[in-house]
């Protein structure tokens, strides 16, 4: 496949995936914190098209679940009741993209709650929590990557442009950060920041911690570009005409680093989403009742959940399509730039 075409395809895939998460309110049938204490750990429900009499129904429906006789956590379908699934139904109020108030949901049911991916310990809808949790995880990844690239570009440009002892110092520091195992670094950074904080603060903290970890690689790559650029004739000419350092960096050198920065972004975002998941999974990140892909998985640390309620694992799978999209995008970007270095040879490129 042509690199350009590949790039377009994966960009579209990623835009669609992010769109679904961004419009979580519409795709999620319920509010992510709305509880149903009568229905803890409901398994994913089956959606039927054939009713018990064997007749085909155009509108998909489900049988509400009831507790099995003599059991406290085993559910069975109540075949006597039939609840139809309504598309574009009205339900819980939410704000689309955080702005537009709406009550419209992709689907919903009147009379009984539908749990497509099961429910958690408080009877909260797992599908809604995964969709809303994605907003937190992806935002943390995107912001973290933004912070990292900003500092990486800044440091890389300073090191490459000014050279001398600054370059030496910054690149030694970069080596240090590259050498450290990232999870240890994440742990260490997190250890030195406050533990008990509000959810919003915790989120910002996670972004900062993640953002501080990865600056070294983009900084080194940007430095390389700057080193080769600053000796180019047009840069020298501009300097000869009296252009200031800041002007040269901003106008002539920064645009040349765009391709490197873009590729790095495609590599960093999924890594940072994963970093957020890891921190929150370990209880060092975003706290309840906010949901993120990481803290949704935290319940799996309880043995009984692990053994009995497999659908609590589903949030983990949500990140896989994003990984696929971003890694393919990164490989397409690299192909387009024609920079296929040894370092990236082990990268993701199935074709």
């Amino acid at each position: 496949m042509k690199p350009r075409r590949k790039l377009t395809i994966w960009l579209v895939v990623l835009v669609v995936l992010h769109g679904i998460i961004a419009a979580a309110g519409f795709f999620a049938p319920y509010d992510p914190v709305e509880q149903d204490r009568e229905r803890p750990y409901v398994p994913p429900m089956h959606i039927h098209m054939m009713d018990p009499q064997g007749h085909f129904r155009l509108r998909p429906f489900f049988h509400p679940l009831r507790l099995r006789e003599g059991s406290f956590d085993q559910y069975e379908e109540d075949a006597t009741r039939v609840v139809a699934l309504h598309f574009f139904a009205r339900g819980a109020a939410y704000r689309l993209l955080g702005v537009v108030p709406s009550r419209l949901h992709l689907f919903g049911a009147a009379g009984a709650r539908v749990y497509l991916l099961g429910s958690d310990a408080y009877g909260r809808d797992q599908l809604s929590r995964i969709l809303y949790g994605g907003q937190i995880s992806l935002l943390a990844g995107l912001l973290g990557a933004g912070v990292t690239l900003f500092f990486g570009a800044l440091i890389g440009m300073a090191a490459g442009y000014y050279g001398g002892w600054r370059d030496e110092l910054l690149m030694r520091a970069a080596e240090l950060f590259l050498a450290l195992p990232w999870l240890y670094l994440l742990f260490a950074l997190r250890a030195f920041l406050p533990l008990a904080v509000s959810p919003l603060e915790a989120f910002l903290l996670v972004v900062v911690v993640i953002g501080m970890v990865g600056w070294a690689r983009p900084a080194r790559l940007v430095r390389g570009v700057v080193l080769s650029m600053k000796e180019r004739d047009f840069v020298r000419a501009a300097r000869g005409f009296g252009a200031s350092d800041i002007y040269l960096l901003r106008r002539h050198i920064l645009p040349e680093t765009a391709s490197v920065l873009l590729t790095q972004a495609a590599i960093l975002v999924p890594q940072f989403v994963l970093a957020e998941m890891t921190l929150s999974f370990l209880g060092l990140g975003v706290p309840e009742p906010m949901s993120s892909w990481g803290n949704l998985l935290a319940t799996l640390q309880q043995y009984n959940v692990l053994v009995s309620y497999w659908w609590m694992y589903l949030p983990a799978l949500a990140i896989v399509p994003f990984f696929l999209g971003y890694l393919s995008l990164a490989s397409a970007l690299q192909e387009r730039a024609g920079t296929y270095k040894i370092e990236e040879k082990g990268g993701w490129n199935p074709l």
Partner: protein, 324 residues
């Protein structure tokens, strides 16, 4: 010899840098282990102040750093508040378990990656190569957290492997052979997770390096001389392709340590992972610093090992080093 002295000095410098950095960060930390005590009405403020003084948390940063360096030189790496004992021995027990896991996983991963990568390269673009490429691509898009949790669920539901811990309950009564078997069984799950996480990158690098070498004229000539394929691949091609792979080994140590940290927490392996996590939640400062430093030591040792291997495998480096 000069070559190794220089590398070792570099490593020591790196360790110093990390320890200084962690200390500087720790100075910025709001709150410490004793803050929680202050909320406890049964502990008087005087006691807290006295404890702080006893552990020298009221001294300036430079003094604390000097004290800590002294402690490191004596092998105890500072004092754990939560365990009320020196950090060194506590860390070593956990580090041993972590090493057991990571060393086994590294060996296994390379033992699998080398033949798979070489095979893939020798059938470049044909069916085996495609199967391997797609498999590694699939494995690459499954993050290690997802992989580890998935394996754990499979293990719990099928009962194929014991989960959690390093040994069974009645471990001490077992015969040596059964002890070995018991530990091996407990290790299986975390090792599988680590190997599967590390394997795709390794296989891809081996494939790429070997494929590049296979194109070289000297190998075409060797093929023309009728040298058997196995000897060609494993003897000539692998040796020529070894250089970037050994560098990769150095790089992969860090990734493996991170992976191990996570897998240990997920699978309740009594290594550095759970220990460090606990220390972070308890604000047990010196344990965190010690853990980070220890991981750096592993990393440095891994890289030195890579340097030694490189020296041994690549004559160019040998001559360059002795010419200086």
């Amino acid at each position: 010899m000069r070559y190794f002295v220089r590398r070792t000095l570099h490593a020591v410098f790196l360790l110093f840098g990390v320890s200084l950095l962690t200390f500087l960060f720790s100075a910025l930390t709001p709150g410490n282990y004793f803050d929680e005590m202050r909320l406890n009405p049964q502990i008087s403020p005087e006691t807290v102040v006295a404890l702080r003084a006893q552990y020298q948390l009221d001294r300036p940063l430079a003094v604390r750093y000097a004290h800590w360096l002294n402690a490191v030189a004596h092998g105890d790496m500072g004092f754990s508040f939560a365990y009320n004992s020196p950090v060194g021995p506590l860390l070593w027990v956990r580090a041993r378990n972590t090493l057991l896991l990571t060393v086994t996983a590294t060996l296994l991963a390379w033992l699998l990656a080398l033949p798979l990568g070489i095979w893939s390269a020798s059938r470049f673009g044909r069916a085996p190569d495609r199967v391997i490429s797609w498999t590694t691509a699939t494995l690459l898009v499954i993050p290690d957290l997802v992989l580890a949790l998935g394996l754990l669920i499979i293990a719990v539901r099928t009962g194929w492997f014991p989960t959690g811990g390093l040994a069974s309950v009645g471990f001490n009564e077992l015969s040596p052979l059964h002890k070995l078997r018991d530990v091996a069984l407990h290790m299986a799950l975390p090792v599988i997770a680590l190997v599967l996480a590390a394997l795709p990158t390794l296989v891809r690098h081996v494939r790429a390096s070997v494929a590049e070498v296979l194109d070289a004229p000297f190998l075409r000539a060797a093929l023309g001389h009728g040298i058997p394929q196995r000897k060609l691949l494993f003897h000539y091609a692998l040796r020529a392709a070894a250089n970037p792979l050994i560098s990769l080994f150095g790089f992969s140590v860090g990734t493996l340590l991170s992976g191990s940290l996570l897998v240990e927490v997920v699978m309740s392996w009594p290594g550095l992972g759970p220990f460090l996590l606990e220390a972070i939640l308890a604000r047990d400062l010196y344990v965190v610093i010690g853990g980070v430093l220890l991981s750096m030591i592993f990393l440095v040792v891994g890289n030195l090992l890579a340097d030694v291997l490189l020296y041994w495998a690549d004559p160019r480096i040998r001559t360059a080093a002795s010419a200086k």
